[in-house]
């Protein structure tokens, strides 16, 4: 349990911290991490369809690599976010190769958004956040995604991105200021 707090700000499921994760426990993994991984993808990629697709890839990879997870080396959060990070990197690489094809049509029957006004306002707010995020540099966006969607500590982010802790802290602070400025320009924020 203690190890998880070193790398993540979330309270991790104890079964994922102390021991190797078994295939049959994967439903629990999925339940615990879906929201964080999906939000991470949304922050990084912007588009909902892409976020869904890459989230799916992350869990596929995680499931298949489950046997290689070693709790002595890293927390489960660090491990799965490393996979998420690599999935996005691979996505951009594939796009560069021009072999990227969207499979969004597979999920073309996406349920319509609910209609209440409150939800509409929330949705608008989220869209503004995504737009503002897209104005940041890739690295800045990734750090914000890992921090707020992933709930990771700076030490973990630093390890995953090959930076120092203090670098992450400085970039995060500056990125937040940029984001705030961008959101103010869009009529959101204080």
């Amino acid at each position: 349990m203690e190890k998880a707090y070193i790398t993540s700000l979330h309270k991790e499921n104890s079964s994922l911290v102390k021991a190797k994760v078994k295939s049959e426990d994967f439903a629990q993994v999925y339940d615990d991490y879906y929201k964080r991984i999906y939000n991470y993808m949304r922050y990084r990629l912007g588009k909902r369809e892409l976020a869904e697709e890459l989230t799916s890839q992350v869990f596929e990879r995680s499931f298949r690599k489950l046997k290689s997870y070693n709790p002595e080396k890293a927390s489960f959060a660090a491990w799965i976010f490393a996979i998420a990070h690599n999935t996005v990197t691979d996505f951009y690489r594939a796009r560069r190769r021009k072999y990227w094809v969207s499979l969004e049509a597979i999920w073309d029957k996406v349920s319509p958004e609910p209609g209440p006004e409150e939800v509409a306002v929330k949705k608008e707010e989220r869209e503004k956040i995504l737009k503002a995020l897209s104005s940041l540099e890739e690295r800045e966006r990734e750090i914000i995604a890992m921090k707020f969607a992933g709930g990771l500590k700076n030490t973990t982010i630093a390890e995953l991105m090959g930076l120092t802790d203090s670098n992450v802290g400085v970039i995060l602070y500056r990125s937040m200021k940029k984001l705030q400025k961008e959101l103010k320009g869009k009529g959101m924020g204080s």
Partner: protein, 307 residues
Amino acid sequence: MKEYDRTICFNHDIDNLLKGEQENIRENNSPEYDELLELANTLRETDFSTESDAKEKIWHNLRSNHQVKSLWFKQKGDFTMKKLFKQYRPGYIMGVGALIAVLAVTFIFPGTMEAVANNIAKVFKVGKGVTIIQTDGESRPAPLLSKEQLSSEKVKVAVEGENSETNSDSQVKDIIHKSIAEAQKAVDFKVLVPEYLPTGYTLKEAKTMELVGADINSEEAKSSRYYLTVKFAGQEKDITVFYRLVNEETAYETGTENEIEAVKINDTIGAWEDSGHLIWEQDGVSYNMICKGISKEEAVKIAKSFK
């Protein structure tokens, strides 16, 4: 407070915020600092995951995959499965699934997705950049995605000139060149062209890509100079040649159920597939030629004439 100290305090406060320990966040801050904390809180509370029913759909797909995997372990044993999945990383499987749609359109080897789950009959290594896996196609389990899911009608292909779907700063743009000399300036390898073409075939276009908005010195921008597509038009279907500078970045694997035949092209060995597809490598460049309706002998003659 100095900027550096403010940065440390801010990171400390954010961690407390994310842990739900608001009581430990510093008070009496400047209005600007409080605004940043407010934004941090907004980000913390922003949850996109409720916007669709993707959670159920993804889980359903995962379970389906699990079933396929279990079936395979029973049929083929652990080693085979591991070997296959080592060659075809999960992410790649999805990419390959996507690639199938491209294959359907461009008539490159069909059956790539199935190759993952099939018996390997032959493995062809064409030069350093391409690996082709031929499978026998018998008694295979269901593919990871259903055929309906993979049908080319349903899969949206990223067509030429269309912007990518991400919010990334850079966008891929196709550049059409009227001459090979012009295309040569846009790539990092020497562009060879066939001295021999079947009667009536002439250059139609040469296409490269450019990353608009990318830093010119970035790896992303550099890699856009590794690819070229040249089309020749004639009375029959176009002959299309995909060029790639061979390196770690451009290497790829593909699969087919069709018979692959080794053919000699000058000093190298290429791979020919009967539906009209020839792959070979020459001087560090990989050539991938689609020539429907053209015989093997004619295709090899064209390939040998690249100068």
